[in-house]
Subunit: 347 residues, 2 copies
DNA sequence: ACACGTCTTGAGAGCGCTCTCATATCGTGT
DNA sequence: ACACGATATGAGAGCGCTCTCAAGACGTGT
């Protein structure tokens, strides 16, 4: 890097130094197709000597491509950074994107007023596309993205009104219902009778689908409504939900928590109330991330390959961006499988 | 938002519709200084009708400002998303930045090859400045930022060789040494004799400073080297470090962990080995984030206002960006205080 | 009535790049 | 030797915006 820290060199400067035209330098910088080897060599040297780096704004202005995509998470930072689920998924996304030399911009939306800011940002063409997570039913984000014509892939099946209209939203999801069914069936098979459920916020499809899976496994009997509590997908929420469940139905003998984090919260409450796990109460979680293996006792849980889901989302978006005008093969949502992992907490 | 989803309207289009010149529209869009009220009104209406949003690339090209800053964390995603420290700090940063209508881009650097990509990104002028965290001693990032002339503020005192040369790097840090000193003194006062320490990676100044604080509190005696173990700032690392310490010095009666996460890991090991806390072994953590209050028993720890540190970093950078050429008052590093919070784990 | 300063507006250059199109260069077959 | 297509290079327009500068509109004091 040449340390002549003045104004940064432009294409023009490189061209002058290499004794060629701007156009030729541009060609070399972008791969060098159709430029003689000796000339390429000369240009490359000039680039190195000057420490030339293309100005991304100028490039974006003419190509109408920024080489960046936004990852939008509709949760407060503190929640995002305490749930390993996001980290894992983000890792998958980040892997896939950097392989395609695309930048990842992380945006959080928590407050009402953030929406405006983010909406403007997305519409301003800072990014070529967006990956959106953790949307709740009435989230205005999808409409904003659609309005701005921004290609978007969702994490989890979108549940907003009108999501079934064309064009169909693109998303990656796991079979939450089946996963929950497996978890609860497992508890039934172990002889548990009063199986409670701690749900996520029911305006998210993943939470709702897991609740449906729970219902499926208990059919045709149907669950006791007192055995259902909302844990908001946080450890704290799980803790409180467990307390409410125990108050309502003291003799419950199992609980299916729709996330490992909530299961951990439940475990805390059970311990505090002197219930032994799994002897008195069996516990099953969902996700199979660190908190599951770390729990005491280690959690029986439902595994989903979160990192792979992230990769799939990124790949879907990248493909979508590639086939902008060109019709290409129609892209469709992806549903991955769920698998029960049995550990000590379910007896 | 007008849903005529064709090519997005330009300034030109708005000008035509409002019956004024491009320049006037530009003025209105940027605040409207020096434009008559009635004209502003007219332009605003045209903007709304057309759903005009300024093209950020074009704007950035001429202003040489992008309105975005990068937050670079030199850790793998999985670590970042399991340590609430980052989340908290990021929240502070994000608050401060959005108040100034500046976007935050989050970038992770974990692998060797990420450095190239990020370096190019930072040099390409995608952002006006950078906030960097968790740098280790030989990190090439600062040199890259300096080479690209990118204004940068560091989280934690930089420890790379040459950091004392001009121009002095800007950073925000807490008084880690003093915090650690308070923690260990507290243990001494409680009558503990064999006080172990679990450190972070010693190529980070925060980890090193805390170790120094530990030494200070034990002076002039000086610590037994077998009482020092590295826990890498992770829960798992803390767990293993505690095991090593117990193997080496079975009768230790206290441990100062340089982060709450490591303290939690230590707690796990102690429980597994049948040591009671605080009766047999007193434990003190550092950070005072969720894991501290959540621990069993709740942790005595050293509080630092992490969110405020984030805010300060952002503010420092913003101020730095504001005073680009204009000399302004010289900006200087900020050191915040640390405060001992006593809970059950220290007896 | 006039000259003057102030406020408001428009014309036009130019930010650094890509890309089309025309021109220059080359190799090949006759 | 020549015409021809293929290949390599350069000239120049233009992406959408900001900003300087000049010109026009308007009010004030004499």
């Amino acid at each position: 890097m040449s340390e002549a820290n003045g104004p940064r060199p432009t294409l023009e400067a490189v061209a002058a130094r290499a004794g060629v035209s701007r156009a030729t330098v541009s060609r070399v910088v972008n791969g060098g197709a159709g430029v003689r080897g000796t000339v390429q060599e000369k240009v490359r040297r000039a680039v190195a000597e000057l420490g030339y780096v293309p100005n991304s704004a100028a490039r974006a202005l003419v190509t109408r491509r920024t080489g960046a995509v936004a990852v939008v998470i509709a949760e407060p930072e503190t929640r995002v950074f305490s749930d390993p689920f996001f980290g894992r998924q983000l890792r998958g996304i980040s892997r896939e994107l950097s392989a395609a030399d695309t930048q990842l911009l992380l945006l959080f939306v928590a407050h009402r007023d953030d929406y405006d800011r983010i909406g403007r940002y997305l519409a301003a063409g800072h990014v070529d596309g967006a990956l959106m997570f953790s949307l709740h039913r009435d989230d205005p984000l999808p409409a904003m993205a659609a309005g701005a014509g921004l290609p978007t892939v969702y994490g989890g099946r979108p549940g907003w009104p009108g999501a079934e209209r064309e064009p169909r939203p693109l998303y990656v999801d796991t079979d939450n219902r089946d996963g929950a069914r497996q978890a609860v069936r497992h508890l039934v098979e172990r002889g548990r009778r009063r199986i409670a459920v701690i749900t996520g916020p029911l305006d998210q499809t993943s939470a709702l689908d897991r609740l449906h899976g729970y219902r499926d496994a208990l059919a045709p009997a149907g669950p006791d409504p007192r055995l259902i509590a909302d844990g908001a997908f946080t450890a704290h929420g799980g803790e409180r939900a467990m307390a409410r469940l125990l108050d309502a139905v003291p003799d419950l003998d199992a609980v299916f928590a729709s996330s490992d984090l909530m299961a951990n919260g439940a475990l805390r409450t059970l311990r505090a109330r002197g219930r032994r796990v799994p002897d008195d109460v069996a516990v099953v979680g969902y996700d199979d991330l660190e908190p599951a293996a770390w729990a005491d006792p280690p959690l029986t849980t439902v595994r989903q390959d979160v990192e792979e889901m992230g990769r799939l989302m990124a790949r879907l978006l990248l493909r979508r961006l590639g086939t902008q005008g060109a019709g290409g093969p129609a892209l469709r949502p992806v549903i991955t499988g769920a698998e029960l992992v049995i550990r000590e907490s379910s007896g």
